[in-house]
Symmetry: D2
Subunit: 341 residues, 4 copies
Amino acid sequence: MRVGLLTGGGDVPGLNAAIRAVVKRGVGEHGHHIVGFRNGWKGVAEGDIQPLTRADIRNVLPIGGTLLGTARFHPHAVEGGMDAVMSTIENEHIDALICIGGDGTLHAASKVAEAGVKVVAIPKTIDNDVWATESSIGFDTAVTIATEAIDRIHTTAESHNRVMIVEVMGRTAGWIAATAGIAGGAEIVLAPERPFDIDQVVRFLKHRHRAHASFSIVVVAEGATPAEGTSMDYEMQVGQFGQIVAGGISDRLKHEIEQRTGFDTRVTVLGHIQRGGTPTAADRILGSRFGVAAIDAVTRGEDRVMTAVQDGEVVLVPLAEVAGRVKHVPDSLLDVARALA
Amino acid sequence: MRVGLLTGGGDVPGLNAAIRAVVKRGVGEHGHHIVGFRNGWKGVAEGDIQPLTRADIRNVLPIGGTLLGTARFHPHAVEGGMDAVMSTIENEHIDALICIGGDGTLHAASKVAEAGVKVVAIPKTIDNDVWATESSIGFDTAVTIATEAIDRIHTTAESHNRVMIVEVMGRTAGWIAATAGIAGGAEIVLAPERPFDIDQVVRFLKHRHRAHASFSIVVVAEGATPAEGTSMDYEMQVGQFGQIVAGGISDRLKHEIEQRTGFDTRVTVLGHIQRGGTPTAADRILGSRFGVAAIDAVTRGEDRVMTAVQDGEVVLVPLAEVAGRVKHVPDSLLDVARALA
Amino acid sequence: MRVGLLTGGGDVPGLNAAIRAVVKRGVGEHGHHIVGFRNGWKGVAEGDIQPLTRADIRNVLPIGGTLLGTARFHPHAVEGGMDAVMSTIENEHIDALICIGGDGTLHAASKVAEAGVKVVAIPKTIDNDVWATESSIGFDTAVTIATEAIDRIHTTAESHNRVMIVEVMGRTAGWIAATAGIAGGAEIVLAPERPFDIDQVVRFLKHRHRAHASFSIVVVAEGATPAEGTSMDYEMQVGQFGQIVAGGISDRLKHEIEQRTGFDTRVTVLGHIQRGGTPTAADRILGSRFGVAAIDAVTRGEDRVMTAVQDGEVVLVPLAEVAGRVKHVPDSLLDVARALA
Amino acid sequence: MRVGLLTGGGDVPGLNAAIRAVVKRGVGEHGHHIVGFRNGWKGVAEGDIQPLTRADIRNVLPIGGTLLGTARFHPHAVEGGMDAVMSTIENEHIDALICIGGDGTLHAASKVAEAGVKVVAIPKTIDNDVWATESSIGFDTAVTIATEAIDRIHTTAESHNRVMIVEVMGRTAGWIAATAGIAGGAEIVLAPERPFDIDQVVRFLKHRHRAHASFSIVVVAEGATPAEGTSMDYEMQVGQFGQIVAGGISDRLKHEIEQRTGFDTRVTVLGHIQRGGTPTAADRILGSRFGVAAIDAVTRGEDRVMTAVQDGEVVLVPLAEVAGRVKHVPDSLLDVARALA
């Protein structure tokens, strides 16, 4: 068989473990040819290929990023995109495609599958919000990095009445905020799942600092929002590349907290450091298991499925079941975060 | 309520997260008194108590070990042990006991429960072999440390025809060997679940080194054993404290490999570094979740249950179901380790 | 002897190693009483003392921050400050004072010495700009953290024509920028020692991205400034606590680079994570050596001296020689940073 | 110019930083051709070359080991070795040679220089015992790893009357033992510079455990030896590859301590993990500075010199001054280690 392989979306640590597993198992055990595509779906559309042999995947386990490159490119959203993809699949005699990615990549995979290509997907996202799987590649590393940062901030001078805001990734789901908040011992965790009441935040901080503590850590997901009806003055400004230039949620929080409490409030936005560097052992193991499961599934002729962790085991779930759904942080976990504040 | 709390057995990173969660939630939410016992069951037998308030658990999240101390002491195995335990429970007016520990501690917990004490258990073991739970406190940190060590050994001079043996913990189950072996990219993983054939190991190494590679890493669990009928000359010697003085499994492997292949073979026994130091984010989260679940269970009047992770959620399982059973590494995981060799 | 001990200014990892060394050596070897003052000079002024015994310094080596607390308080700049300090010195029968701090603390130490108190100082600053010593406590840890962050950013998707700005500490000296820039392999390093020409920065980036590279990392010290005569539009805004709210040097750089090149430019401000967490081995060793040297100096009756590293050895230098001078990054080091771009 | 480059001896983290600097600066600034030799002097003797361009050194900064490979091969100690080396130098038109290595490599460099080849050396050794330089590549990383290991061992159950021996590298000089011992807070540090009296060690341990402590850490350099006239029964056994099979210094210590005190004593031999993995920031900076200094020296026509750190600056010292001398740990540092026990 000739099996295509691509990594799409933002990159995360652990992708190389999955690539390595697909190649080692695919070539070594099944005797397939593994055809890598550079820069995600873009490489498929442009026929930008990189044959993958066992020599190409030596020593990549501890390396972050993806040796195939990645891009945010959705063939179905670009004129002629799907035709270009199908033509490469045909020209390269690709029997099946393994797509490693998050939301966008999985959506594209569904579209390509509908067009007749056999597809097996592997979920990756530091946001951990892919449906039907307990974990996705990259999440454990992101939580580890965020926790280390909170630890460091914890030991800095516990100055009187200071509030430290740590902003972590998570646009629609607050997995990193909730877990790193628990692991780092944050006093307040703000996740998109529970729009927050700024009055309550301010009241908590005042109460806490009055009682005894001189120092509070607030961990906030980038996608956390104030509850409807509550007012926060400060407005967000978006730059030319779509990124927030000023007035991100942390800046707005800082503004309100300082205005209302008079406490010196500092913001640390972890940003890109959450998605780079050496993957944790857990992400390497997950990537490796997913890679083996995906190439085995391809070999058995499975189609339109995604590898997933359920009850601690690696299983396959229908891609259709996953598409368009977001796995939110359960109340039980948010409650633990609040209980330990 | 007056709730007793102890940590037993060998210590592991993440215990303090569980203690902290029991205290924060127990005192702050439920208004209980938390009575800590020093050095596990020994402290219960001797009435060696340490009241735990919120002040006692500040800043303990990133600290390894256990602030309560621990000991390998089994009240039911010591003359008068059970009586001493029951008398402390009575004198201290303990309404229920939260026991954090592995095999031995859980077994003692069952015995004490039979004697009429309400008991809720929390599983910890770097070996990850407690039945009925996907993970136990300490395992993730141990795998992380072992993986880092294998990484380091990987980058050392890839000298010609050298074999590096890395011995990790795991007496009856090979969880660390299998997972760290995968994460570190080991060529051979030897776990207690699959007694190994030394002839096969030697043949694999000769073949590999003849083909191209100049360097092989063998990860072996301390409890791995040669298959019956296969011969390994070198004998094990046990010291006065029960520890292996010479001729542990690594030494025996080294001896055989050098004899039969002539390859320079080096042994690194990770030993105690696997069970100390800062817990990973995952172990802190697990400890925190288990702690909250345990004190909530106690408050609801639950008895003879253990906190566990199933399908990604924290649940309670009957202690009776757990006792005397070992959770072995499943074939699926050992197969991934072998597939990626 | 009764020896006072304080830590002043912003806290850094490694302070506890110095405190521990002063206490272990001072109590154990010399038989002194060590009188800790809480929160730097503020504690001296207010008579806020904390006697330090060997029990107090157990297990503090790996802990960031300072067990004595710290504050930015300058007795000579506050009305009645010096009198309050002198009165505490007298009331507590302090024979000599060991002051651990940066610029401000050392300056205050000079003032107090002039008033007749025997003073021995230990330099700490993550900026590494204390005169007469090769290194100060906290610098190595800060460089290590900044390098890890740059590493992580390096492995994220090497998107086309993206510029990543990493802002590190360093108001008047660019030690962290230069060293972490070298260690992390930055393409451009901007330090206060060499005001930069934004035209040149832009030209370099355009040239580099045109040639081949798709990705550039710019490491900038918070105190880097554009050269006179060069224009940068964007203005800085300062908040009520003196911190930069918007328009820090990174924001200004980002603005200019995006305007002139059209390259997507992202900013990561490391901020407080640089000054917290477990100290590196080097900072613990430095703190330990300085602590022993300081208490030995006090015992010998030395006065108005500072511990320093010169030619790899710990020596004492006159405090007068240090005051008011800034140790800038030498050209040789900035040249290495540029040579490896 | 055509400049040869090799790395010899055991590998250490930071070598790639030096290689990268030589290539970036040599090719980019000076326009030289850099000719890499594989596996140290062996590659020179065998004409095994690997041309090095800027593409070859991308992303190597955080990678341990050496991209050129290394070997313990001494041309002057092998029949025909020197002739083979000279013939390669001639055939490849090598104008000068940059040799990165420790003791053995530097010695070979002297021999080759005597035969008429221009040579500039860069010192690397985790033992830190190269004369005339404050530090050598690899030392800081080794100390960091050893300190982390001691930290981990520190937090494991502080069982009653247990002694933990941690064996670190250092055959003739005890730099790692002394510095990691200080950084990790060891109770006893045994270095080759001060042959130890086992009676005194035993007395100290007994006294300490009697007083209060239940737990002691002994850090011992592999080359530490008992003082003359003191007796230790247990004998060392050496294997066929020259390595110690049993009865290394740790085993001997363990044996004596257990015999004489009855304390449970455990040994952890760090071994190869000390010389692998990601280099610390300090080692990358040192490698980078040495690399730039070496290629600049070659360009200026310098000969028979070694890069060195003196008074915090990178300088050149005559190779002749270095050869055959060992830089031992100064008393001042060993005294700090003892003072803080």
